[in-house]
Amino acid sequence: MAKQKTRVEEFNRDIYDVYDHDTTEYQMEQGLNEEIVRSISKEKDDPQWMLDLRLKGLALFQKMPMPSWGPWLGELDMSKVVTYVRPNAKMTDDWKELPPDIRRTFDRLGIPQAERTSLFGVGAQYDSEIVYHSVQQEMRDNNVVYTDMESAMHEYEDIVRAHFMKLLTMDEHIFLALHAAVWSGGSFVYVPKGVKVRMPLQSYFRLNAPGAGQFEHTLIICEEGSELHFIEGCSAPRHNRLNLHAGCVELFVHEGAKLRYSTIENWSKNMMNLNSKRARVEKDGTIEWVSGTFGSHITMLYPSSMLVGEGARSEYTGISFSGKGQIIDTGAKVVHAAPHTSSTTTSKSISRDGGQAVFRSSVKIAPRATDSKCSVICESLMMDNDSRADTIPVMDVRNDTSDIGHEAKIGRISETAVYYLMTRGLSEEEAKAMIVRGFVEPVTKELPLEYAVEMNRLISLELEGTIG
């Protein structure tokens, strides 16, 4: 009798795949040129310095090469991408004021419900614009700023100008140059000295228009001794044309501050998700990245942490799930640039049905980063041999007082573990489900309960048969 393979079913994408038809008020023509960039700038009422930055980004984009490493990106034709789509909604702090289609979409995604129960503030972006933004009174009382990026550019211009694309500079790679040229939307958060925000803030990014790009910019500044948990969610309905996401996240964590940045990314499988994220962490500060990557056709995403102050710390905990037609190339970068810094990178991946999971990382320990510690752990679970799981770490150590450890494991569900659990009374399916949930648990336990449930639902495993 032929053996059946362990199967991991596609999760139900119904709530994500609903396409809203008449929600676009205006969109730019396809492609990218100076006229389009100037038009976006005009839409945003940019100050001159921002227009200059956009034009510089465009010039760089036009001469920079595509990456010579990683997944093949030849399918991406920038002449077919619409870089700006304005929905037929004005930004509001009342869900009822949104057009019914857009409101229903966010209702289905559970954003208003989450806002009521477990968040201190919500920003919701639809295509290229933030359509909803609201913060609770306690945040205002503590002088915490949480607003859309365009408002921040005008209301907090000095702060934004001093930080915008200073951590991730536009000359690093072509998609940052593109981002500089056409960014639109995103969130700005400023947490004053000593303020500890008790409940998370969330920004949700929804890309509805076919063939469009989303280029939101997120800028968070946590002043000395402050604390914040920021959650980012993303989704899109499936189209038969490629969509592009090239966002940019810059995080400034000052002395003794702590920032947790959680992402649950569930783009549709026609999405090129080429996002860039970086944190700069000062003395005794902490950045924690929690990342769940489920959707997209191709993802290239490697949050990076620059540990520039003594005792700075970073933690990266990530899970990726790649199915048919997906290449999920994720990981983390850490630069230890000061003494007594520490970093932990833990990555888990599951690949199935021809999906390709790549864990890519770099750790750099500078000569002055004495007595630093670094641990990188990567585990990959393959559900069939149509899939791939590759691990590509690099460690560059330049002093003699630091300790670095790296471990990686690749394989399928352990038959011994299944057998053990079955001797304890579980069925084979229950045993496998338990093993897989245990495999992803280090990530889900880092999320608030509601989001852990969401992540578990996304993983939604249906296991049957025997180990093949």
Binding site: S68, W72, N385, D390, D400, H406, G411
Partner: protein, 373 residues
């Protein structure tokens, strides 16, 4: 006039360019006199050596790569092999006869004179059921009176036939200004075994690769790497085991110590190809860093296109354990002696593989020199 080779020791899968690990470059001094010597002292019964390599079509026995993951894969065997094929001044085919079991290790010594260059192209065929141990020693080579530095470029390929077992030990102990460029490439058939020890203890710049393809069911290979580097020397090493058939077993095990302003890049790859079910692969690197100006880069790749395998990697980079040092010093050892003992202990498995006392002594002397620098 120098020859610059710009694309050596290529990583099987590219990563970020700014890390400078995708490929390495080397300048070959081109002015030296060629080495001429007869490296094999004794040839045991059942082994033949001939200098005509024209019938060796090694490339045809290596199947095309099976990766499906990315469009920008490198070939592992790269410019080193091509460069040496063109320039070889010493060529030999060494054949161990069918079912021949050679008790004593067979040793070849290449002892370079002042400013000499050696480019050797050697093919080793271990026929079905044979069993042997081969030692290659690359020694000597001081700069010439007009300051031409010695240089070695080698390409040694192996065919391990069904059920054959071959152990290959290479001791590269050239003078500290020499340039060393080396490629080892092996294919192992069903139930064949290939164990390698590559000790890179000499040379200003040593750039070496070892690529093993396990092409038969239950084939096995262990690639041991031992490197030592002090002053401003460079070690750039690229090891890979490809698992192409079921129930194959492979281990890459590397130990090293670095001091002074030494720079080391270690690339190692465990590569499971679809169809290699029930295979097991492991790579491990342990590095002792003894100087605060050392540059130590490790790139351990684990590539997997088959689900029914077990693949693991572990790297540890750090200074000698302070508790162990303290214990040894409390027993009367000086700090230097204690450090030497700890480094020796970390490399003892590999030191034990070296069959001759001269070889072991050379490695131990180099080890002490690096620790005491």
């Amino acid at each position: 006039m120098h020859i610059r080779l710009a694309s050596l020791n290529r990583l099987p899968v590219r990563t970020w360019s700014w890390l400078s690990v995708n490929e390495s470059a080397l300048e070959i001094p081109s002015l030296g006199a060629m080495y001429h010597g007869d490296p094999f002292a004794d040839v045991p019964v059942g082994v033949t050596i001939r200098s005509d390599v024209s019938d060796v079509d090694f490339r045809s026995s290596v199947p095309p790569r099976f990766h499906a993951a990315e469009g920008n894969l490198h070939e592992v065997v790269d410019d080193t092999a091509r460069f040496v094929e063109q320039r070889a001044s010493y060529r030999a085919v060494l054949e161990i006869g069918e079912d021949v079991s050679v008790e004593a290790p067979m040793t070849a010594t290449f002892d370079l004179g002042a400013g000499e260059q050696l480019f050797d192209r050697i093919h080793v065929r271990a026929l079905r059921g044979s069993n042997a141990k081969i030692v290659f020693r690359y020694l000597g080579g001081r700069p010439s009176a007009d300051d031409v530095v010695p240089c070695h470029g080698g390409f040694v390929s192996f065919e391990i036939e069904e059920g054959a077992s071959l152990t290959f030990i290479q001791i590269q102990a050239l003078c500290d200004r020499a340039v060393h460029l080396d490629a080892i490439d092996a294919v192992v058939a069903r139930e064949g075994k290939f164990e390698v020890l590559l000790s890179e203890i000499g040379g200003q710049e040593a750039m070496a690769s070892c690529n093993v393809e396990l092409l038969g069911k239950s084939a096995e290979s262990t690639v041991n790497g031992l490197y030592l580097a002090g002053n401003d020397s460079v070690r750039d090493l690229n090891y890979r085991i490809g698992f192409a058939k079921p129930e194959t077993i492979g281990l890459i095990r590397v130990r090293g110590a670095l001091n002074g302003k030494a720079r080391k890049t270690m690339k190692s790859t465990i590569d499971f190809i679809r169809g290699a079910s029930k295979s097991q692969g492991r790579e491990e690197e342990s590095v002792l860093v003894l100087g605060d100006e050392v540059v130590n880069v490790s790139t351990p790749l684990l590539l997997c296109g088959e689900d029914d395998v077990s693949g693991e990697h572990a790297t540890s980079i750090g200074r000698p354990n302070s508790e162990k040092l303290y214990y040894l010093m409390s027993r009367g050892f000086t700090e230097k002696q204690a450090r030497i003992l700890l480094v020796e202990a970390s490399m003892s498995t590999m030191l034990d593989m070296i069959p001759d006392t001269d070889g072991r002594a050379r490695v131990l002397a180099a080890l002490r020199e690096v620790v005491e620098a």
